[in-house]
Amino acid sequence: MNTEQLIAELSRDVPRVPPGAIGRRLAIGLALGLAVSGILVVFGLGVRPDLGTAMHGFSFWMKWSYTISLSLVAIGATATLARPDAGRARWLWLTAIPVALLALVGVGELIRTPQTEWLKMWLGHSWTVCPWIVLALSMPIFVGLLWSFRTLAPTRLRAAGAVAGLAAGAFAASVYCLHCPEVSAIFVLTWYSLGIVLAASVGALVGPRLMRW
């Protein structure tokens, strides 16, 4: 096909593109993935029975602030890297703030707790499964984001995959908070973060292959 024909062909279908198309596209993929992960938690793992009382307590909101703030930074970075002319996602360093704050809370906990209890506090009841559940719950969200990326234009595929994985992991951790009864900051800082980092690694690994366009 010669170029003039191609241009005529392409110009036949020119729908209006409202501003903020990237955000909308990502929001749809994210919402679909979140719905699946939410269903898995509610009907698979089960919502923690004391959620109502827990929501009046500190540790629930500590966990949620941590995972949700990570989610927002990561999805913002994802939206940046969805553009071809994206620079470096510098403000990804903002993720250091929730991590540092949670670490501070963790230090406070350690000071208040006798040393003999530290290991129990760190491992909780579920350290062996927590990272894996977060990773598993992140997969529907990651797939949703991959769907979003089908009309987007990332040019740094490994980075885009990593931040999309990071966002998926952080959102998955937020959903998992509805089930998980763990209360200690160092537990969340270690095992939640491990699950989130695993999700980001998966994203970095498959990004170059699955985000090509």
Binding site: M1, T3, E4, L6, I7, A8, L10, S11, R12, V14, P15, R16, V17, P19, A21, I22, R25, A82, R83, P84, D85, T151, L152, A153, T155, R212, W213
Partner: protein, 177 residues
């Protein structure tokens, strides 16, 4: 004729608002820009293909253009990506210049390496056995030719080769030289 950033951007915005005529005008204006871009960077590749691929990408991914940012930066980011992708995809089929020379040189190295090994091994044998093996197994003479060259009997050649090879096998299997 080159179109300026402002003109391109105006066309792009109008296309994003659904104006098909301006969208076509934009794509048409991009052809010389992209052709120049690719000709400077990859003069050997199929420039028409690259230009068309990029036009399609500009069309299908136009939602990723941020109206507050420069248009040409967005455009050339796509063009650069498409160029890299093009190379990456074609890598399995790129004709390698001077491939034969590379192979010849590699073969030479292997052959000379093997010869060194054989020479080292033969040095460990009695002189006569080594000479007979060299004559019949490396220089490619027949038993009769070797016997004639060395002025010894054919059966002598055979026995020397046989004993020498037996000893070599024992050396190699024993791992000592």
């Amino acid at each position: 004729m080159r179109t300026s950033e402002e003109e391109l951007r105006a066309l792009m915005m109008s296309g994003l608002d659904g104006n098909a005529g301006d969208h076509a005008a934009l794509l048409r204006a991009l052809v010389p820009l992209l052709t120049g871009f690719y000709r400077r960077r990859s003069p050997d590749s199929d420039i028409d293909d690259l230009v068309q691929e990029t036009l399609i990408a500009v069309h299908t991914r136009r939602g990723t253009y941020d109206r507050a940012r420069p248009f040409t930066a967005w455009l050339f980011a796509i063009a650069r990506y498409k160029m890299i992708d093009h190379f990456r995809r074609g890598r399995g089929m790129v004709p390698m210049e001077g491939l034969e020379e590379i192979l010849v040189i590699e073969g030479f190295e292997d052959a000379s390496g093997a010869r060194l090994d054989v020479d080292q091994l033969l040095e460990t044998l009695p002189d006569k056995q080594a000479r007979m093996i060299r004559a019949t197994r490396i220089d490619g003479l027949s038993t009769a030719e070797a016997a004639e060259r060395e002025r010894i009997g054919e059966s002598d050649v055979k026995v020397s080769v046989h004993r020498g090879l037996k000893m070599l096998i024992a050396r190699v299997q024993g791992g000592s030289r």
